[in-house]
């Protein structure tokens, strides 16, 4: 079938061979032609030698999810030839390094095999093993450029930008591009029926991953203390924060830093550092993943009860236990919502893409300081580590950060007496004082039972008074957290409700279902506690398909617990094999459920 700007390219390589830069070049070239793209990296928990795949979906409609097809497989890893061939959609193509011909690749008669002698050509043109391996990757980009009509000038320009300080590399890379390009032009009918044409669908957009966006968001939020313990897939968040700070957070006069990043000994310490810093009035955060949340749980409960702000990014990965650390999931929803012992619950934010990682990073500090409680931003590996095409981030200069109820020295001076946990405003949020500001603000922070005046207690009524007031604060949180995204189609009593990185696949599924005359309404929750709009949305519908990426329907459970939602209405669409969600799965489940409805 002939298509323009609707093609899925999957590249199978071995990790540690430098294919990432070739794949990046390919994707960015298409993006620079104004054509929307989606990039997904499927990589092993390993540094070198294991199979890895990169999938580029060219989507003129600007869908955000991965596809459920593979049109062109670039099979560069002989170890995985069989499965890579099997994965190609009927009518598709398989490009491989025909330096060593493989007749087994001809087993499928519905797939066209394109042999390009990449190794032979690169061995003839380049010196040294390293250059030959790297250039082989660049050469397949050249072959694809011919097959798909990718603009060579765009590729040249990108290479010039990439190697701005090493111009000699531009020539050798272009030579490799030419090798692939010329071979494909001479030996195959170019372009293929599926091709790429310049468009304006990518205008005003950038390609960025969620961890970089969140790190940038932390810098723009004015965070000064970051504490962390390395864990995949969150590590690059602190790397990004460090990199931005190294440029923008160095005092020009003294050359000294206005940020402090501490690599902690473990996650127990990382959250302890965040609490200490927040207690002292700094905006402080820690990025982690599921196992890190488990270790942080004790102090998260402390922060809830002692009312200390904290920002935690949980870039979720596939559990339980070590699970599949380089695969994605949304399976920490419940463990984060109720992290710790005793009656504890936490404010959660659910970004759907890197754009929201940037904005929610800033919102999380405002909420944490306003509410004096931990706020967890639940991203995932798909958002955090994959390259997403999103609208360019904006920063509103009129935005004033919300530092919450922090008393100044003068306010303390003018007070008769300061009591830490008194609810003066009736919103469940007391006033806090920072150390070093004024002797009257002195306060003994404790995780043990305390009265509303802040003193130690084992008195039942005095204890209960405080934990009841925390519930009032919870309701205040409900009224100020980000509202859900809601879309109504034409009148319909069925809807899809999803969270985080499910968004792109769900919206694409809504379009596809619409083509089949099934119009569903849509709600994407952005925060916990759920605002009243979420509750109302569920109440408006007879059936709500809850789409999430875990086995145990954790979002559905949370809706039942927090919104008192009727469980019989909430039908789960659960995707939890570690790959990002695609629209095909949602459509298939919706059709199954719709046909059940008709049968009944």
């Amino acid at each position: 079938m002939a298509t323009v700007n609707d093609v899925v390219i999957k590249i199978a390589t071995v990790n540690g061979t430098g294919s990432a830069s070739a794949n990046g070049l390919l994707m960015r070239s298409i993006f620079r032609m104004g054509v929307p793209v989606v990039g997904k990296n499927y990589f092993p928990s390993n540094i070198q030698g294991l199979p890895t795949w990169y999938e580029i979906r060219v989507t003129g409609n600007a869908y955000q999810a991965r596809s459920d097809r593979v049109d062109i497989m670039v099979a560069m890893n002989a170890q995985t030839y069989a499965r890579d061939l099997a994965e190609v959609s009927p009518g598709g193509w398989l490009l491989y390094d025909s330096t060593w011909p493989r007749s087994s690749l001809l087993d499928r008669d519905d797939v066209t095999v394109l042999g390009v002698p990449l190794s032979r050509m690169c061995n003839e043109h380049f010196e040294g093993a390293r250059a030959r391996i790297l250039m082989k990757n660049i050469a397949y980009v050249g072959a694809l450029a011919a097959l798909l009509e990718i603009d060579l000038d765009t590729i040249t320009k990108l290479l010039e930008e990439t190697f701005a300080s090493k111009q000699h590399l531009v020539g050798s890379n272009m030579e490799a591009i030419r090798l692939g390009y010329d071979y494909a032009s001479e030996n195959f009918v170019c372009p293929l029926p599926s091709k790429i044409a310049a468009a304006d669908g990518a205008k005003g957009h950038i390609i960025i991953d969620g961890n970089t966006a969140a790190g940038l968001g932390c810098m723009y939020a004015g965070a000064t203390v970051g504490a962390w313990y390395p864990i995949t897939p969150s590590t690059s968040l602190m790397d990004a924060f460090r990199s931005f700070c190294s440029k923008y957070r160095v005092d020009p006069e003294s050359g000294k830093r206005t940020y402090c990043i501490i690599q902690a000994e473990d996650e127990l310490a990382a959250i302890g550092m965040v609490l200490g810093a927040s207690w002292n009035g700094a905006r402080s955060f820690t990025p982690t993943s599921g196992p890190g949340i488990s270790l942080m749980s004790e102090l998260l409960g402390y922060a809830y009860y002692a009312e200390i702000p904290a920002v935690v990014f949980n870039v979720q990965r596939t559990g339980p236990s070590t699970g599949m650390p380089t695969r994605t999931q949304q399976a920490d929803i419940l463990s984060c919502a109720y992290a710790s012992h005793g009656d504890t619950k936490h404010v959660l934010l659910f970004p759907a893409d890197p754009g929201e990682c940037f904005t929610m990073a800033q919102a999380s500090f405002d909420l944490a300081e306003r509410l004096q409680t931990p706020v967890m931003v639940l991203s995932d590996l798909d958002i955090g580590m994959n390259d997403w095409m999103v609208p360019e981030f904006e920063f509103d200069e009129s935005y004033v950060p919300d530092r919450g109820k922090v008393l100044t020295a003068q306010e303390l001076e003018d007070m008769e007496a300061f009591y830490r946990y008194l609810d003066i405003d009736g919103d469940g949020i007391p006033y806090r004082s920072l150390p070093g500001i004024h002797p009257k603000g002195a306060f003994f922070t404790r995780g043990s039972g305390h009265t509303k005046y802040g003193s130690y207690t084992e008195d039942s009524d005095a204890y209960q008074d405080v934990v009841d007031r925390l519930l009032l604060k919870w309701e205040t949180a409900r009224s100020i957290v980000p509202e859900p995204e809601i879309q109504y189609s034409k009148f319909n009593k069925a809807a899809i409700l999803s969270v985080g990185s499910c968004d792109g696949a769900c919206k694409e599924a809504l379009d596809r279902l619409n083509e089949q005359n099934i119009s569903l309404n849509y709600c994407r929750v952005k925060a916990f506690p759920f605002s009243d709009a979420v509750k109302e949305f569920i109440e408006q519908h007879d059936v709500v398909y809850v789409v999430e990426q875990n086995r145990d329907a954790q979002l559905r459970t949370l809706l039942m617990l927090d919104c008192d939602a009727n469980p019989t209405k909430l039908v789960s669409f659960l995707h939890y094999n570690g790959t990002p969600l695609n629209a095909g799965f949602v459509v298939k489940r919706a059709l199954e459920e719709q046909s059940k409805g008709q049968a009944a």
Binding site: G272, D396, F444
Partner: protein, 351 residues
Amino acid sequence: MSFISKPTVAHPNMPRNKLGLTARDYEGAVSTLCAGCGHDSVTAAIIQAVFKLNIEPHMLAKMSGIGCSSKTPAYFVNQSHGFNSVHGRMASVTTGANAANRTLTYIGVSGDGDSLSIGAGQFVHAIRRNLNMCYIIENNGVYGLTKGQFSASADIGTLPKKGLANQQEPIDAVSTALSLGATYIARSFSGDKDQLVPLIQGALSHDGFALVDIISPCVTFNDHEGSTKSYAHTREFYHNVIDADYIAAAEEITTAYEKGSARSVELHDGSKIILRKIDSEYDSSSRSAAFKYLRERFHAGEIITGLLYIDDSRKEMHDLMGNIDTPLSEVPLDSLRPGKEELKKILARYR
């Protein structure tokens, strides 16, 4: 246990420090520990040390974890902020607090369980960072709040009130700190105020990680025959290495110390500590000598006290990182955000 507020009545003739405050102004709530607890003596010594150092109460931050020792920050300097955290996590909370505001004086009070078992990881890493704090371990070899289990500092052969003698090697906080590069290491005994107060003063003034390991017998669970951390045992085997007296920078060094036996060490804040060598062999500037001596006396069953090691040349955490002198918490947020135009420039590479 309940919170008892203590009336603050100061005698008009009580001595006042440079801030015009009396020692009474540095007191806290009434202790709820057992009568005769060594920890209360340490509390009294801390009050004296902070009073003598003229520290503004609100510029002191009192940090602790969980255990009998960790309750004590409530019993001194009422006008200071306190952070009674969770078990074994005082060090990390203090690290973060210090990261946010380096201008406060941090005193952490911990115990042997809190620092050498559940909090061992954080204790050693705070030392590695040369976190600028006074870290006190009230060491009694026993878990008091859970009624008498051994801690990791219990000596081999120690008998509990119930059960079998301890057969596991003790962890010695002082040797541990020496091996990790701590820059101020002292040990004392809760019952020896004359030695303890200057050691704590020195630790509070030291620009880096200062450990004061204080043998503080538990009168309820570990003050019986067979315990090596009982009052009787400690007094019998008490061995003073160095008496330290603390002299503020502005004051002249007194002549109470005979020439030849005194050694003056200038601390980063300009104040000085004077060491009097009891043992003429001892050199508190040598890590290896300190380690050797400590092991020798340990094998002889003796408890070495005094200022065992000091190194005022190493940079503390912030200076190692090259951070600004102003507290990070006080830098206005506006100056920390590069603004709209810079965001465009940053994002150019993602276009």
